[in-house]
């Protein structure tokens, strides 16, 4: 069908699709800050790089969580995985080289994802409860292994690779975001695994009837979610030149909000990688814009809440209409 043949209603319907909502809200907020903060350096490459750099770990976590949500699971342990993987990576770096330290840190994600998945599937208990429990265990372990001390990292190759480094002028944190996003996008939209994820999230019974291994798909989704959180832990460790048990603890709600605003359903069956990325950038942009605007901390909290409520309300309204 050519564009000429589209009726006004069809164009309207297309423009109001849930997936596009994040683009409108992102552009609106950006436009709003660009106009109100025209003399504050908001609309500058330096500032946008600041936002991308600051939100890189949250973006990676959001991409990972999208997979868990796609199959209808929630993963509350991702914040704790960030801390533990960063600590394990930082401790290992004092004894072994970068490759082994990275493998060790990512193993935290792999192991936690497997434990989460196996417990949820074998016990048939809600992912909310299981990951709430594992979150507590991981947080306790993270506090225990370092006795609450932070672990510094002095390996400059590591900090360049996962933190403040650049490749041809592009920050390494942006490169990580793009690479992870590209892989996740291909997996979710081009591979049969992605279609299986959405089928399982949409209707597990129908997916089972179609011959999809529902349990295995859900397990993989939780492993991906945890692995992404472990990578986010490495990015934090690289950025901060060290790790501490508090890393990631404030990110969980930001990540969930970013993914939900980005168009992924919290109940499975619909996932949007680009939306998750834009959602986390939107959260970063709101923070950044409100700080630049000179609001007091309390006013920033109020404004952030109002913007989020408006964004979510518009999304939900559209969803009901749709």
């Amino acid at each position: 069908m050519s564009i000429n043949q589209l009726t006004l209603n069809q164009i309207k319907g297309l423009a109001l699709k849930r997936e596009f909502f994040i683009y409108y809200i992102f552009l609106t907020v950006m436009l709003l800050f660009t106009i109100t903060l025209h003399d504050s350096g908001f609309f500058s490459l330096t500032n946008f790089m600041n936002i991308v750099r600051q939100t890189a770990p949250v973006t990676i976590m959001a991409i990972g969580l999208t997979f868990a949500l796609a199959v209808g699971h929630i993963d509350l342990s991702i914040g704790a995985v960030v801390a533990l993987s960063a600590l394990v990576g930082a401790i290992l770096l004092q004894h072994v080289g970068i490759p082994l330290a990275v493998v060790g840190a990512l193993s935290v994600g792999l192991i936690v994802g497997l434990i989460n998945g196996l417990l949820i599937e074998r016990l048939q208990v809600s992912s909310l409860l299981i990951t709430l429990g594992t979150m507590g265990v991981i947080t306790g372990v993270a506090r225990q292994i370092t006795n609450l001390e932070s672990v510094p990292i002095i390996d400059q190759t590591f900090t360049a690779l996962f933190g403040a480094g650049e490749l041809f002028g592009v920050p390494s944190l942006l490169i990580w975001t793009v690479v992870v996003a590209a892989i996740a996008y291909i997996v979710l939209t081009k591979l049969s695994f992605g279609r299986h994820l959405l089928a399982v999230g949409g209707s597990p019974k129908a997916a089972l009837a179609m011959g999809i291994k529902v349990t295995r798909i859900r397990l993989y989704a939780l492993v991906i979610s945890s692995l992404a959180a472990a990578l986010a832990g490495l990015l934090y460790a690289g950025r901060l030149h060290g790790a501490r048990y508090t890393l990631g603890e404030a990110d969980l709600l930001t990540v969930i909000a970013a993914v939900a605003i980005g168009g992924t359903s919290l109940f499975g069956g619909r996932a949007c990688i680009i939306g998750a990325i834009l959602g986390s950038w939107l959260m970063g942009m709101i923070n950044n814009g409100l700080i630049l605007s000179g609001f007091s901390t309390n006013e920033q909290m109020i404004a952030r809440g109002v913007i989020l409520v408006i964004a979510v309300a518009i999304g939900v309204k559209e969803l009901k209409n749709g």
Partner: protein, 366 residues
């Protein structure tokens, strides 16, 4: 017609009532706020120094014969709190006092209320504690007092509690001295002519508020040092964004003050990311990451460190002394130290009574 008049009269009366109620509530709230402010007006000149608190060998013997028990009810957990606990435990051990409970409220007043209630069932003789929120935990402290315990507080007073009646004493940092010392470090770092960015703790918290305020006041004495921008934070993780935004708007800033060490870590990360090696950072407390940066001549120029081990030791001594009738002053101040690249190792050992972390030791030897 008359009924319409009646209705409008009633509605006017209702509005007047509502208005009166609002005014009354506002007045109550205002007077409460004023009384709260009064309770914060403390005569610091009467505070004692930690070195003045001592026990003779005869007094120690008497305390030992009493076979006392103690509990530590902390607000959270951190290497700093561990050092306070270690100081208290070592002192209690010397005095033959057994520590029967130690709690970590995880910065949650509700958890601290539960912790205090659990401790009161153990009926300890002495309780050392830092109250997260004096108003919500007050009743639980009263329960502890009701079972005969003596209370020594760390830093935060509890509204309505009276010295020598509800608590033995309050041991705290010399917050005003620390704020002034931080201003001195800023002057030193900027050769008395700096452009300062101030990243302060924007929450109602006794220690940080007093420290930040003392810093501002002391900095105002340096005529060639200007505060270019001030931004507040509530949680530590926010400082990275704040520093980036502040420097975007004011790239001329050459010195940054951050309320405490862990909050300064995000600021250092931002400075590294944007390649501003020229900006110097001054903060409070000791943390390995920032000390490592200081040791390697990074952005951290200096920090003001209190002495957590001595805080714990002094609290324990005051509590034990009260058992044999020694009246402690309402406030006891524990001294602090200015830390720069040159004295990291000795100050660490003085503050924590623990060896320097291996990596930090290595960095200092390079």
């Amino acid at each position: 017609m008359s009924s319409t008049k009646k209705n409008s009269k009633q509605s006017i009366l209702k509005s007047a009532n509502r208005y009166f109620l609002h005014v009354l509530c506002s007045l109550c709230f205002y007077s409460f706020a004023l009384s709260a402010q009064d309770s914060q007006t403390i005569d610091w000149s009467k505070a004692a120094n930690a070195s003045d608190i001592a026990l003779s060998s005869e007094q120690i013997k008497t305390i030992k014969n009493k076979h006392l028990t103690a509990a530590l009810a902390w607000h959270g957990a951190s290497p700093w709190i561990n050092a306070v606990s270690r100081g208290a435990e070592d002192e209690f051990k010397k005095l033959g006092i057994k520590v029967i409970a130690q709690t970590d409220a995880q910065y949650d007043p509700a958890k601290q209320v539960a912790d205090l209630e659990n401790i009161s069932t153990l009926e300890p003789d002495l309780v050392l504690s830092l109250s997260i929120d004096g108003i919500s935990t007050k009743l639980s402290y009263q329960k502890i007092l009701a079972v005969g315990a003596r209370l020594v507080l760390l830093s935060n007073p509890i509204p309505g509690f009276k010295h020598n009646q509800d608590y033995v004493g309050i041991v705290t940092d010399d917050m005003f001295g620390m704020g002034e010392a931080a201003a001195e470090l800023v002057a030193q770092a900027s050769n008395n002519a700096g452009k300062v960015g101030l990243i302060f703790h924007d929450a109602n918290y006794f220690i940080t508020n007093n420290r930040d305020q003392a810093f501002r006041k002391a900095l105002a004495r340096y005529s060639n040092i200007k505060v270019i921008s001030e931004k507040g934070f509530v949680k530590e993780h926010e400082t990275s964004n704040i520093a980036a935004a502040m420097l975007l708007q004011h790239p001329e800033i050459d010195t940054l003050y951050v309320s405490w060490d862990a909050a300064a870590e995000g600021v250092i990360e931002t400075l590294r990311s944007i390649g501003r090696k020229d900006i110097k950072v001054i903060t409070h407390d000791l943390g390995v990451n920032n000390l490592l940066d200081m040791a390697m001549n990074g952005n951290v120029y200096g920090t003001i460190s209190d002495r957590p081990y001595d805080i714990g030791k002094t609290m324990a001594r005051i509590a034990a002394g009260a058992e044999i009738g020694i009246q402690a002053p309402e406030f006891t101040l524990v001294p602090f130290d200015s830390v720069t690249h040159e004295n990291i190792a000795p100050i660490w050992q003085k503050a924590f009574k623990a060896p320097l972390p291996k990596l930090l030791d290595l960095a200092l030897k390079q």
